[in-house]
Amino acid sequence: MHKKKPKKVFVQGAIPPEKIAHSVANHQSKTSIGAHSIFLGQVRADEVDGKTVTAIDYTAYEEMAEKVFHDIREAAFSKFDITCAHIYHSLGKVKVGELCLFVFTSSAHRKITIEATNFFVEEIKAKVPVFGKEIFEDETHQWKVNK
């Protein structure tokens, strides 16, 4: 039902866990929904050559990214019979343990929503021009690459 409304995906800084509760609560009046599937990306304290990541600083080619997010939504709605889909991605600094990605889809049936969320996550990782600078505890950094 939100299909045509343009969405703002990027949020500044980490995504608070309360946003998840809030998004779910907002869908309790939609009584055709039987299943929600949620994916959350959390910044990991990876160790590289003895140094530990403390945060990722996200930047993006924002205009292109919003366009790609839109195209992914359109593709998802045409592939999967989902009721709603919401995506939030952080920009700026997100500390280890904090959330940087929140994908949320809803459908009448479980298989559809699980597949749709998976589709969103894979497409976002592969196609959206977002860049991540992994910052170590000594203030040095390396550039993250999706696998």
Binding site: Y58, T59, Y61, M64, F131, W143
Partner: protein, 78 residues
């Protein structure tokens, strides 16, 4: 002819800039412009840098006046 070039992530870091307007005569493909922009920069894997022309991934196209070209290092979203 003028094109705007945008640099992101490790490319912006190596180039020490995030955007510039380049002027040149004659024709240039997106990948020729990329080679020009990355020339001399300390980037290990230049193959991994993708090009977007007017927000679409494209390294084949011949550039037109006013195009917006972006040099995009590997994606790290999510």
């Amino acid at each position: 002819m003028k094109v705007t070039v945008k640099y992101f992530g490790l490319v912006a870091e190596a180039a020490e800039k995030s955007e510039e307007v380049m002027e040149f005569d004659g024709t240039l493909t997106a990948s020729e412009l990329k080679a020009k922009c990355l020339n001399g920069l300390s980037i290990t894997d230049k193959e991994s840098i993708q090009i977007a022309v007017n927000q679409n991934l494209d390294d084949k196209t011949t550039l037109k006046d006013g195009d917006e070209v972006a040099l995009l290092p590997p994606f790290a979203g999510g």
